[in-house]
């Protein structure tokens, strides 16, 4: 039916697809559990101060209520245990609006939700730091980010033939995976089982154990299916341990799911950024300076700063460069990793500025980028393991019909619409992380089957499928002979599905495990072979019923010598309604150079996903804070507009072939993050090309184009 070893690279349909289309994939609270109680969190209604009193008498008397847990009766937890954002009922302090201040546990969800409404809280309120517009000027240098300087940008900017110095603003964005964070906590003696979505299975295990003062081996995370994460289920948040605490207190399994409205201030956010980008160029379009200064905010008690300047460090060749960050602590929940952290927002600023400068020089923006293509990584002088930006731009221009673009805006009118084309590039680092995997081979007669086990995560990324493909090829077994078990901390530890390291780390360790078990079978046979036999052949010829081995893989040391990143070029065609200012992205093309494409069907989907996120960033999504109260005015899915189906037009994905064995053994570079990078800039640039209006503050809502 097929040639040998051709699973990898084939558009195999998801092997977990049948579960997902029949409703049988078990997400966190879908796991069957006997006699659960239901927990509902209640939250602070001030942004800063202290809880003076919590009156929970009515709640406790409410029918079905089993417990009301607040800082007054919660067990002492280790607040440095690795749970993000605190809010685990350890003190009376309130640091942001919507902080968890208690949990009601009841026989039913309806009873718990109602009782939570009956709790009355009194506060001693303090003045809160909320208004970023006012506060950002007093930002300080982040703890872990020094200014990065090359050459002299001041002189270069002063002497520039052309320059752009503009500030680009992005709002607070929320991850909003469609599965809100939810947990079933079940104690079995001293052991705790947490059915809980986790992008980093072992990370969740360690954070829960450490916070609850348990040994990791007493905590098991079960997370076979994850209803989206996008960074919000990377680190774990207070709700996870509160579920465990509640289950302990009522001596029953507890289900705790956050309400959608609670997602705004429970599991992090992408912070608001003001990014000033200054570019200088010679009259023939050679960059001479690139300055990227980011002002952002973090939580009062903890710092997280997304690296908006990362793209600017490596995208273009310039002798003078400055990257800085300033951060303002505010009474808002701790920001965290959000799809394409730093790069998606940073590329909006950088790639908008590049477009602005190209327009000033009257140079095609593609030509302008090609002219400033760096031969090696400008930030550290290392050679690229691979970099296909030029191919991305050129192939994309060809496929998209870029030659039809008009240099001047408002030249392409279709009926009541202005039509515009935009381009922007993006990048994301490629890394492999330590991972282990066990492979088990079993034989009955001539039928050999394999089981792959590792604590990996599949949050829709296709992990199950690509690992079955990888193992099938490495063992020379049909893919249906492979069973993949992931998403369980009882399995060998593995990297998280974060920062685009998942596919690289998992596929490499699975491949290593397959190679190792083949070696072990050869050794066990005591024979010499002219041609290397396959594991399946050896199982049969040596009459071995079962065998297993474990591989522990690390990144290649030599990879350190290279700069490894995925790159892309994004092309957008927008139609702007001249009357209403409503923008539609009619066509979008992403051309990506991201190493080996393990499965073009799922890879394409992942790129589309990033693109849709980027379009949402550009056009529809925004979380608005009322500076008087510190609460999110956009407090539900009716106010926070994730793109709907009609917001998305025709999409196309092209992958540039790369054989990058310098990055890692299998030459995989990762797709989950890079897909969003550069997207919002491509859309904003297209809006400029359509309307002549340069929007430097996302999202581009209709009123900005009137």
């Amino acid at each position: 039916m097929k040639d040998k070893n051709t699973n990898v690279g084939s558009p195999v349909s998801r092997i977990d697809g049948i579960l997902k289309v029949t409703g049988k994939a078990d997400y966190s609270t879908d796991h069957p559990v006997k006699d659960p109680a239901y927990a509902v969190i209640f939250k602070s209604t001030i942004a800063a101060g202290k809880i003076r009193n919590i009156d929970s008498v009515a709640a406790e008397k409410s029918p079905g209520v089993l417990a009301v847990i607040t800082h007054k009766n919660a067990p002492k937890l280790n607040t440095k245990g690795g749970i993000r954002g605190g809010a685990m009922l350890q003190s009376a302090d309130v640091l942001f609006f919507g902080q968890h201040i208690g949990v009601v546990v009841a026989e039913t969800f309806e009873q718990a939700r109602h009782a939570a409404d009956l709790v009355k809280v009194e506060y001693d309120q303090k003045e809160a730091k909320i208004d970023f517009e006012k506060l950002h000027r007093n930002g300080v240098k982040p703890k872990d980010k020094e200014d990065e300087k090359r050459g002299d940008v001041k002189v270069a900017l002063e002497n520039a033939a052309f320059k752009v110095e503009e500030t680009y603003a992005t709002p607070i964005y929320h991850h909003h995976p469609l599965e809100p964070h939810a947990t079933i906590a079940e104690w079995q003696g001293e052991n705790l089982i947490l059915y809980n979505s986790a992008q980093i299975v072992n990370g969740a295990q360690n954070a829960a154990a450490s916070t609850l003062n348990l040994k990791p081996e007493n905590v098991r995370i079960v997370s076979p299916y994850i209803g989206g994460g996008f960074g919000s289920k990377g680190g774990q948040w207070g709700n996870l341990v509160l579920a465990a605490v509640a289950a302990k207190m009522v001596k029953r399994p507890v289900k705790l799911a956050l309400a959608r409205q609670q997602m705004f201030n429970s599991v992090g956010l992408r912070q608001r950024n003001y990014q000033k980008v200054s570019l200088a160029a010679t009259k023939d379009g050679k960059l001479t300076a690139l300055v990227h200064e980011t002002a952002t905010h973090a939580a009062i008690q903890d710092e997280f700063v997304e690296p908006c300047g990362d793209c600017s460090k490596i995208m273009y060749d310039t002798p003078n460069s400055l990257i800085t960050y300033r951060v303002t602590p505010m009474n808002l929940i701790l920001p965290t990793y959000t799809r394409g952290p730093g790069k998606s927002t940073g590329s909006f600023a950088l790639e908008s500025a590049m477009d602005e400068l190209a327009y000033k020089i009257k140079m095609d923006p593609i030509e302008f980028r090609l002219k400033n293509e760096p031969e090696k990584d400008p930030s550290n002088g290392k050679p690229w393991s691979s970099r296909k930006v030029v191919e991305c731009l050129k192939e994309g221009a060809k496929a998209f019909g870029w030659e039809k673009r008009k240099m001047e805006p408002m030249q392409n009118v279709q009926g009541n619409y202005w039509v515009g084309y935009g381009v922007a590039c993006g990048t994301y680092p490629a890394h492999q992380r330590d991972s282990s995997a066990i492979i088990k081979l079993n034989r009955e007669g001539s039928n050999v089957t394999a089981i792959i086990e590792l604590a990996a995560a599949d949050l829709g990324t296709g992990t199950y499928t690509i690992l079955a493909q990888t193992a099938a090829d490495a063992l020379d077994l049909p893919i249906n002979k492979i069973t993949v078990r992931i998403g369980d901390s009882d399995l060998p530890p593995a990297a998280g599905s974060v920062g685009s390291v998942g596919a690289t780390s998992y596929a490499n360790v699975v491949n290593d495990a397959c190679m190792k078990i083949t070696d072990e079978l050869i050794a066990r046979s005591g024979k010499q072979f002219f041609a290397r036999p396959t594991a399946a052949q050896l199982m049969v010829s040596e009459k071995i019923a079962n065998i297993q081995t474990r591989a522990d893989s690390k990144p290649m040391e030599s990879a350190e010598q290279y700069s490894s990143h995925s790159f892309n070029a994004n092309f957008a065609e927008v139609w702007v309604n001249q009357s209403t200012g409503m923008v539609r992205v009619k066509r979008f093309l992403a051309v990506t150079g991201a190493g080996k494409i393990l499965n073009p069907k799922t890879a394409r989907s992942q790129i589309f996903g990033g693109n849709v996120w980027g379009i949402g960033m550009a056009l529809t999504e925004e979380s608005v804070v009322d500076p008087r109260f510190g609460h999110f005015v956009t407090r539900s899915f009716a106010d926070y507009h994730v793109p709907s189906n009609l917001d998305i037009g025709e999409m196309e994905a092209i992958f540039i072939k790369e054989d990058d064995k310098l990055a890692n053994k299998l030459g995989i570079k990762g797709l989950g993050e890079v897909g969003i990078v550069g997207v919002s800039a491509a859309v904003a640039n297209a809006v400029f090309n359509a309307t002549g209006k340069r929007i430097r503050e996302l999202p581009i809502l209709p009123d900005k184009l009137l």
Partner: protein
């Protein structure tokens, strides 16, 4: 959500009787907004009277050549009924511009008119809101008010009414037929159905407790050839309007002989653009005339800190909707 008694009404008289017996009871029809608000602890009835089995779903021609739409019929059925599509496409279009396929399958025609505002300060019980809790203040006035009213608001309330369907009904001179708790029937002009906030923003409509909307009637008109419902929103679908316009007119020769314009997303009730209508009577349907009329209407707008754009957007939307109507709904 507070505990409540669920009662299934068998027929209209028993529904009315049940309601009359309990001032804290509410009728439950589609439930798409009521249950949403009960989960938020904004609505707090102690009894729900299920009225979905009362009938009152029929759509039929009236003796005077208009149409009668059952108060408990579903939005989907109203939008797709051949009589509505043929003679009142503006109404079909407005209904279809609202919510999603699923919600339109649930929501009833009467219930649609009783939607409460989507103002986030109304929805959030941690915030002040005179509509939810009279006397607590208006959170939006000094807060984030991009989505709020530019016409007819008061110091007490700047909320807007979210329905699309009602905007078309306002333009089509509909009347609402109501049976009260004592079984008496009355007919209310659409313009008098919803209220401006004034000093009593807690009252959205002129209904009393126990009133049941039995049907909505639209008189005969000849507006179907030139009508359009335009909805401007922050995403392409499944979002509430920033501004919407229901526009329809009748031509005699080259001149507009009758015109109806109503706006959504700009006031506490569907906003009939009377000034614009008056300016267009007897005029040619040109862009210049549309603009003059639209600007005249919007000249009276009183925008707030974050919604100044609605004045310009409103004006453009009126012009655009009229242009679309002129072209029979095609761009």
């Amino acid at each position: 959500m507070r505990p409540f008694k669920y009662t299934n009404a068998k027929d209209v008289p028993s529904a009315l009787k049940l309601a009359a017996g309990n001032p804290n009871a509410r009728f439950l029809a589609g439930g798409t907004n009521l249950l949403d608000l009960m989960k938020e602890d904004v609505e707090r009835p102690d009894e729900l009277i299920d009225i979905t089995r009362l009938g009152l779903t029929q759509i039929k021609a009236t003796g005077s050549g208009g149409i009668s739409i059952g108060g408990l019929g579903r939005n989907t059925d109203a939008a797709n009924h051949p009589l509505v599509r043929q003679h009142y496409p503006l109404l079909s279009q407005a209904i279809l511009a609202g919510a999603s396929g699923q919600i339109r399958n649930m929501a009833t025609n009467g219930g649609n008119l009783l939607q409460r505002t989507r103002c986030p300060y109304f929805y959030d019980v941690a915030m002040p809101c005179n509509k939810r809790e009279p006397g607590s203040g208006c959170g939006a006035m000094e807060g984030i008010n991009r989505m709020h009213a530019i016409f007819g608001w008061s110091e007490k309330c700047i909320a807007v009414f979210p329905s699309d369907m009602a905007v078309a009904l306002a333009a089509l001179d509909a009347v609402v037929k109501i049976t009260n708790a004592s079984g008496e029937e009355r007919v209310v002009d659409f313009a008098d159905f919803h209220r401006l906030p004034g000093d009593m923003p807690e009252k959205d409509t002129n209904l009393s407790h126990g009133d049941l909307i039995t049907s909505i009637e639209i008189p005969k008109n000849n507006l179907a050839d030139h009508s359009y419902y335009l909805k401007v929103r922050d995403r392409a679908s499944y979002a509430f309007a920033l501004v919407s316009v229901a526009a329809a007119f009748e031509m005699k020769g080259n001149l507009i002989s009758k015109v109806r314009i109503a706006m959504g997303g700009v006031a506490h009730k569907p906003w009939r653009a009377m000034k614009a209508e008056q300016m267009l009577i007897g005029k040619e349907p040109t862009e210049a005339n549309f603009k003059l009329a639209a600007n005249a209407e919007m000249a009276d707008a009183k925008p707030l800190e974050h919604n100044k754009f609605k004045v310009e957007l409103g004006s453009r939307s009126i012009v655009r909707a009229l242009q679309m109507a002129l072209n029979g709904g095609k761009s």
